[in-house]
């Protein structure tokens, strides 16, 4: 495992941390939802990378499941937020 890959992994960690800041801070619920979906996307990418790194197909299955649930969860949350009455 070379230094290039390690640099990439560290940058990826920084990116996910910054996304987590938006997840905590985000003024509206939609900001939080967007940050959560971006986190899910990053995790899918990291899981695929990890599955190629060690020889274990379990990680790819986990990535596929996470991608599916991320999309369905986002759409369901949007439907809920859209129909909710009350203040912003």
């Amino acid at each position: 495992m070379g230094g290039v890959l390690w640099t990439g992994l560290v940058l990826m960690g920084v990116a996910l941390l910054l996304t987590g800041v938006r997840l905590v801070r985000g003024p509206s619920d939609f900001d939080r939802l967007l940050a959560a979906e971006t986190l899910g996307l990053g995790l899918v990418g990291l899981l695929m990378l990890r599955a190629g790194e060690i020889d274990d197909t379990f990680y790819v299955d986990a990535a596929l499941g996470l991608a599916l649930f991320s999309f369905v969860g986002t759409v369901v949350c949007v439907k809920f937020l859209e129909s909710r009455r009350g203040d912003e």
């Binding site: 996910l16 996304t19 938006r22 971006t38 695929m48 599955a51 599916l68 949007v78």
Partner: protein
């Protein structure tokens, strides 16, 4: 595959992963610094989609150079992500527009052009 070919493939996979991580960093910075939600929805939609493509391509190349069939599932994940990210971001932006999420002052204020249900 020869020894040199494996080295080159591994290096290519590493650099693709680095590129994907850089794109994710760009999308995270955009998510942090853009002024309102409708700008922020733009950053991860483009940058993170391309980033996950590069990370997935890196995994595909590594799987191909090892000679197993995991790359098929990687490609399936990438296809699914490319189909769903535009849908979910469009749904989010439309719902935010209907709910009247605050827009930044210097943008031309947009209204939903259909009656909200």
């Amino acid at each position: 595959m020869s020894e040199l070919g494996t080295e080159v493939m591994s290096l290519l996979a590493d650099f693709l992963a680095l590129g994907g991580a850089l794109l994710f960093l760009v999308s995270a910075i955009g998510l942090l610094r853009l002024p309102d939600f409708f700008c922020r929805v733009h950053a991860p939609t483009k940058a993170a989609t391309l980033g996950v493509l590069l990370l997935g391509l890196s995994a595909v190349i590594r799987s191909l150079s090892e000679g197993d069939l995991v790359w098929l599932e990687d490609v399936a994940i990438l296809l699914f992500v490319f189909l769903t990210i535009p849908v979910s971001s469009q749904v989010m932006a439309r719902a935010a527009l209907r709910r009247g999420v605050a827009q930044a002052g210097q943008t031309k204020q947009a209204e939903p052009n259909e009656p909200s249900r």
